[in-house]
């Protein structure tokens, strides 16, 4: 009995040492029978629904979806061709030129780009408070790190303490905005579409865009760090709960969270447009962004079900105006755009920048 312990230990160690390489060898030969998807956490809720439907209604296995962020996903996607690399990556922004080059360097030359729809970014507060009407300029003046004051070309650290300081028509409450941290794609999009939109209204900054784009970006995208903008982590559920507890605070998150929590929070009107489903779909609401996924063409045919998954994602019952993705908060594209990407998906058209 006592001896057995030692013998068993030796046996297990031996087994593990010899078995692992053997199993590895057999596995890489066997291939992979499920689709591997990585990428944006914004697209994740939509891609997962499609994957689930796909797994339940076809004979293929349910695809595996990792939420790695847009940048992380593209990095994995571009790391090469072969079953150990993902087949599809989701992105809440368009692929960058540098990423296409990186892909090509690793042999991933043929990529198909599919836009799936739009996502609105809302500035919301508790239903207990009044609906706020802001312009993008107000947002910039309230949340930017440095803002222009009086003289052209001169920036001062943001002195605004209350919304009234920003714009006299706004209420006299302390600026307190809960939002995602800099690692988040939502934050990037908010800075680019919301803050930059307001930033551009200053003539001298706009002219800077062409001459000194780096500095331009630094001015327009920098968010203040003196406590008025609170980084609330990636968890939007938490932001909604905090807004409920504090009616004076505002939160920045995706439209789907507003949609799901419509009994607790309300979206602020930005530039006179309410963040409703219709307004985002029409492109009237200014703070919205397209969502994409990218397909590795070399894997079509190598991994079973790729084409079928593509056609499920681009079908009317998924991304159509009454599709199940819309139920989850996706804002669908207009007919022509849908048609274009449906064709791109069917013919696996190569990405052109």
């Amino acid at each position: 009995m006592k001896k057995n312990i030692a013998t068993a230990a030796v046996a297990v160690i031996a087994a593990v040492t010899f078995l692992v390489p053997a199993l590895t060898a057999s596995l890489s030969a066997a291939g992979r029978d499920y689709i591997s998807i990585v990428g944006s956490s914004t697209v994740y809720p939509f891609a997962t629904v499609v994957a689930e439907q796909f797994g339940k209604t076809t004979n293929f296995k349910t695809p595996k979806i990792e939420s790695t962020g847009s940048g992380g996903g593209l990095k994995l996607f571009c790391s090469g061709i072969g079953i150990e690399h993902p087949d599809i990556t989701n992105a809440s922004r368009r692929i960058k030129k540098s990423e296409v080059e990186n892909c090509a360097k690793n042999g991933v030359t043929d990529i198909t780009e599919i836009k799936i729809g739009y996502d609105g970014i809302v500035i919301a507060n508790s239903r207990k408070a009044d609906i706020m009407k802001v312009s993008r300029k107000d947002l910039f003046l309230a949340l930017a790190k440095d803002i222009p004051m009086g003289k052209e070309g001169e920036l001062v650290p943001n002195p605004n303490k209350t919304w009234k300081d920003v714009n006299t028509s706004l209420p006299d409450i302390k600026i307190e905005v809960l939002g995602p941290p800099p690692t988040s794609g939502t934050r990037d999009a908010f800075a680019e579409l919301g803050l930059e939109g307001g930033c551009k209204e200053f003539e001298w900054i706009r002219t800077m865009k062409k001459k000194d784009s780096k500095n331009y970006k630094a001015i327009c995208h920098a968010v203040r760090e003196d406590g008025a903008y609170v980084e609330a982590g990636e968890n939007d559920v938490l932001i909604v709960r905090k807004l409920e507890a504090n009616p004076d605070a505002f939160g920045v998150f995706g439209f789907s969270f507003l949609d799901q929590n419509a009994d607790r929070v309300q979206g602020s009107i930005v530039d006179g447009v309410e963040p409703t489903f219709e307004n985002i779909a029409d492109g009237k609401y200014p703070v919205s962004r397209p969502l994409y996924f990218y397909v590795k063409k070399a894997h079509v045919g190598m991994i079973p079900g790729m084409k079928e998954f593509l056609s499920e994602f681009t079908s009317e019952k998924a991304w159509g105006e009454e599709g199940y993705l819309v139920d989850k908060g996706l804002i669908p594209m207009l007919e022509e755009e849908k048609k274009k990407f449906l064709e791109d998906g069917a013919s696996l058209k190569n990405l052109s920048m």
Binding site: L27, A47, E52, T62, R127, K328
Partner: protein, 434 residues
């Protein structure tokens, strides 16, 4: 007489001195005990708050609202040509059947938008439930049956009071939909039942269909690999270092390194796993095998340190006695020292395993933080683990996932409790023998 008188005087003085200090000593003792009690009570209160808040939020998830539907398994919609083939049956329009049944319940609904809202009363899983019924028993085609199907998560949340309704208006649910729900309730067609899906299904994006079983199985496989790797290796390392290895600079270096590794943040092990197991050895992503390998790297130092400590606590007389009756060094260790040290080693292993069970950070790097629906069937299948499932649910926009997150936490705690209980039982068994 004089002498004894002096002695009593002296001892009296001493006694008085002791007595004078006694009060102070008792007081100090009481204060010390009081602080000890305060510490324990604070810890218990925290634990109670945790349990109360989690079970308070999570217990509702063990129930799910079901709606009663009169379903006509229309031959036209399942198998119009009456082929009787399974392939045809599996492609039937079951969603359409559910919709038709809902339309029959509310014949007045004509508007297209309202119809959509009507269809969303029942879960999208209802169609799959019907399909399963037909596939397992094709004879029900053509009959009408009364079936309870899960409702959509919105209805479920409303029934459980998680969606605010103020004077008949809710931001989330339209007034006419509220009316339908009330009418269903009045007809007795809505009922809360035990949520079996929560225990038997894999992950899903529909809260009413989502379950924890896939993650539980994934956790079991991962823990199995971790245990099989780290326990024998850890014990062997500890025995060698403690009983056989010479005391020199090299063993000192090894010891310092092991102690250091025990304090390394777990994400570092994840990065190591990514570089070594995935990129170098080419093991598959998201597999419990790799998760187990990474987690055993993490638990090894804990096991080694605990095992060495328990070997050290075996009195030298045991070793000397064994050697004295002619046992070899190895016999002394395997027959006498190791069994005596085993309870302590097991405790260390369980502590290490419990930490590994709650770990998500290293698994992020090797792709185990993923949406996986199918239940894993082996250590090379794609899988996720319990804490990852909790994290993924906590981050989902659907309201119904809030209570399900708490329910998953309850189950993780139950899992931990089970493991620790098993450890205590095992340890006692070993202890009794010696």
């Amino acid at each position: 007489m004089n002498r004894t008188g002096l002695q009593t005087k002296e001892s009296n003085a001493r006694l008085n001195l002791i007595k004078a200090g006694l009060k102070k000593r008792y007081f100090k003792e009481r204060v010390f005990r009081f602080f000890g009690m305060v510490a324990i009570l604070t810890a218990l209160a925290m634990l109670a708050i945790l349990f109360v808040s989690i079970t308070g939020k999570g217990y509702t998830a063990f129930e799910q609202t079901f709606v009663r539907l009169d379903i006509t398994f229309d031959t036209e919609m399942i198998d119009p040509e009456n082929t009787g083939a399974k392939d045809v049956h599996s492609k039937g329009d079951y969603g359409g059947i559910v919709k038709k049944s809902l339309r029959q319940m509310f014949p007045d609904v004509k508007d297209r938008r309202q119809k959509r809202d009507l269809y969303s009363l029942a879960s999208s899983g209802a169609a799959f439930q019907l399909r399963k019924m037909v596939l397992s028993d094709p004879s029900i085609i053509g009959t009408t049956q009364t079936i309870w199907v899960p409702t959509d998560d919105d209805v479920d949340m409303l029934m459980k009071g998680h969606i605010k309704v103020e004077s008949g208006v809710s931001g989330r649910i339209k007034p006419y939909k509220l009316e339908w729900i009330h009418s269903l309730k009045d007809r007795g067609a809505l009922e809360k039942r035990f949520n079996r899906a929560l225990f038997t299904s894999g992950d899903s994006r529909e809260p009413e269909l989502a379950g924890i079983w896939g993650a539980v199985v994934g956790s079991l496989y991962t823990m199995m690999v971790t245990l099989l790797l780290s326990f024998p290796l850890g014990v062997a390392t500890a025995v060698y270092l403690e009983e056989f290895a010479p005391q020199n600079m090299w063993t000192d270096i090894i010891e310092v390194n092991i102690n250091n590794l025990a304090a390394v943040p777990s994400i570092v092990f994840g990065l190591l796993g990514l570089a070594v197991f995935l990129n170098f050895f080419g093991l598959p992503r998201s597999a419990p095998m790799v998760g187990g390998l990474v987690l055993s790297l993490m638990t090894l130092p804990t096991i080694i340190i605990a095992s060495r400590a328990s070997l050290k606590s075996v009195p030298p007389s045991i070793r000397e006695g064994a050697l004295g009756v002619g046992a070899s060094k190895m016999q002394a260790v395997t027959h006498h020292v190791l069994p005596l040290a085993m309870p302590g080693m097991l405790t260390g292993t369980i502590i290490g395993m419990a930490r590994a069970l709650g770990e998500t950070a290293p698994l992020l790097m090797i792709g185990m933080v993923a949406f996986i629906v199918d239940i894993p069937t082996g250590i090379f299948d794609i899988a996720t683990v319990l804490p990852v499932q909790i994290y993924l649910w906590a981050d989902s926009p659907e309201r119904a996932f809030v209570e399900r997150t708490s329910a998953a936490i309850i189950m993780l705690l139950a899992f931990l409790l089970l493991m620790n209980a098993a450890a205590v039982v095992l340890r006692n068994k070993f202890e009794k023998r010696w």
